[in-house]
Amino acid sequence: MHFDWPFFWRYLFEPSQSYLAGLGLTVVLSVVSQTLGTAIGLFAALARLSRLRPLRGVVRAYVWVMRGTPLLVQIVFIYTGLAAADLFRFHDISLGLLTIPGNVQAGIVALSLNEGAYMAEIIRAGIASVDPGQTEAAKSVGMTYGLLMRRIVLPQAARFIIPPLGNEFNAMLKNSTLVSVIGVQELLLSTETLTSATFRVFELYSIVALYFLTLTTGWGFIQGFIEAKFGEASAQAKDASAVRRLLGFGRWREARPPA
């Protein structure tokens, strides 16, 4: 087998403009979709904990479908399927200098909806892990549901939500490659374009793998930083020894020093 090292190094360290644009689009797609997905997940989680049975049913069905069908199918369905059935067509949106193509919009919608279903379960579990006594105490001082969620429950649930959220974003970075099937020029499709021009499949796919590895590794550091920062804000990090912090959250309740 002939591995073209000079080619490899050149494309690794001197990527073309369009390749860098693909990298940028991958990051933007992932960040936007994760943000929207987290927001959808929050509302879905609250709806799932609601007293209204029909609302709970709707959310349950949404989570069921989104987690039970392939993301690839969802992407094609939302972009091509809806248009083919004459139900909905994504048109390019122009925001001054910036134009958002229809397929990018569809990609974001599909990724966000899919992510929302997973985040709904994560956030629901996070909320459930907060002691009900916290809610009762908040009610007893006259807080309404919205206020007590915002000020008391969600800040404490965040400790349980942030680690899996980090994993979700890691997965999102890689899953976003699936929108290449509807022609979104993100990192993978940029690679494929180059491949068909150069036939250097092995070299170029090694490069794209390294790019993703760099993205996810970089995110790993950011995630570690966020988790450490978040731990500091609560009493857990103040009390917990370094060893205990390494062991992870969830054990902080034991760390109660005598007064």
Binding site: A137, V141, G142, R256, P258
Partner: protein
């Protein structure tokens, strides 16, 4: 403990003016948990400034009853008036319908509650716990709330713990912060649900002392407890519940020396 000489209630500008003399008026309250009938027609009236201690064996419904008084539990029959208005429900064409969340929250502002397991907001400092509701619920300015908060913490003997998180405080300290948190809302009524039951024996005294101080200053209090010493010394009335009913309601001297009900006699003989 180091409670300062100034009274607790001066911090919040003394006791609020009450519109009615009867702070709590519960009549024929029934509650079911599924098929379990836990309150079987409880009636209780508490006047302004009274300290009522509720005792009884576990499962007698005393905790449930107190939780109904600020509508942490729904009731299925009867009615409860706190500070002269129905709680949890409003009257509509002679029938009781569920009140709005906003109205219930508004009424709860004037009813302080102290829980067995403290339930301090774990992500906030002691001072943060005390000032949270005055700022967010009453819209008090942060500086004003902090001033009142610090004074209240000083009064419960925790001036130097304002910046400590709940996990850094002992049980007794946490419970005293919880009392300060409830007082910061200037309640007309304080409910205590077994406030010392989760405490190590050596910490019970410091919490009871704060409660006694509060009673001396004229706060209307309903206290569910197993502390018979507290009942004897501080209560104006001792109410005994058994099997979802009130079976005794008498001044402590009378209650402890000559209870009328046979069930009360046997309960007392077991615990005294």
């Amino acid at each position: 403990m180091t409670a300062s000489a100034a009274p607790l209630l001066d911090t919040i500008g003394g006791l609020p003016e009450a519109a009615v003399d009867e702070v709590v008026s519960a009549s024929d309250v029934h509650k079911w948990f599924g098929s379990l009938h836990v309150l079987k027609g409880v009636s209780l009236s508490v006047k302004r400034g009274e300290v009522v201690v509720i005792i009884g064996p576990s499962g007698s419904g005393k905790t449930t009853f107190v939780r109904c008084l600020n509508h942490l539990e729904e009731i299925q029959r009867g009615r409860i008036l706190v500070n002269g208005t129905l709680i949890g429900y409003r009257e509509k064409r002679g029938r009781l319908v569920k009140d709005s969340e906003r109205n219930i929250a508004r009424q709860r502002r004037e009813i302080g509650m102290v829980f067995q397991r403290f339930n301090l907001f774990n992500h906030m400092t002691a001072l943060g716990n005390v000032v949270e509701a005055p700022i967010r619920v009453l819209g008090m300015r942060a500086e004003e709330a902090a001033e009142i908060g610090r004074t209240l913490l000083a009064r419960v003997g925790l001036a130097n713990k304002a910046d400590a998180y709940p996990a850094q405080l002992s049980g007794g300290q946490q419970q005293r912060v919880a009392i300060a948190r409830a007082l910061a809302m200037k309640p007309r009524l304080m409910l205590f649900d077994e406030p010392t039951s989760a405490l190590d024996p050596e910490m019970i005294g410091e919490v009871l002392e704060v409660m006694q101080e509060l009673a001396r200053e004229g706060m209307t209090m309903i206290v569910v407890t197993h502390e018979m010493g507290f009942a004897r010394e501080v209560a104006d009335r001792v109410v005994m519940m058994d099997d979802g009913r009130v079976i005794e309601d008498a001044p402590p001297r009378q209650f402890f020396t000559s209870p009328a009900h046979a069930r009360a006699q046997s309960f007392l003989s077991k615990i005294l």
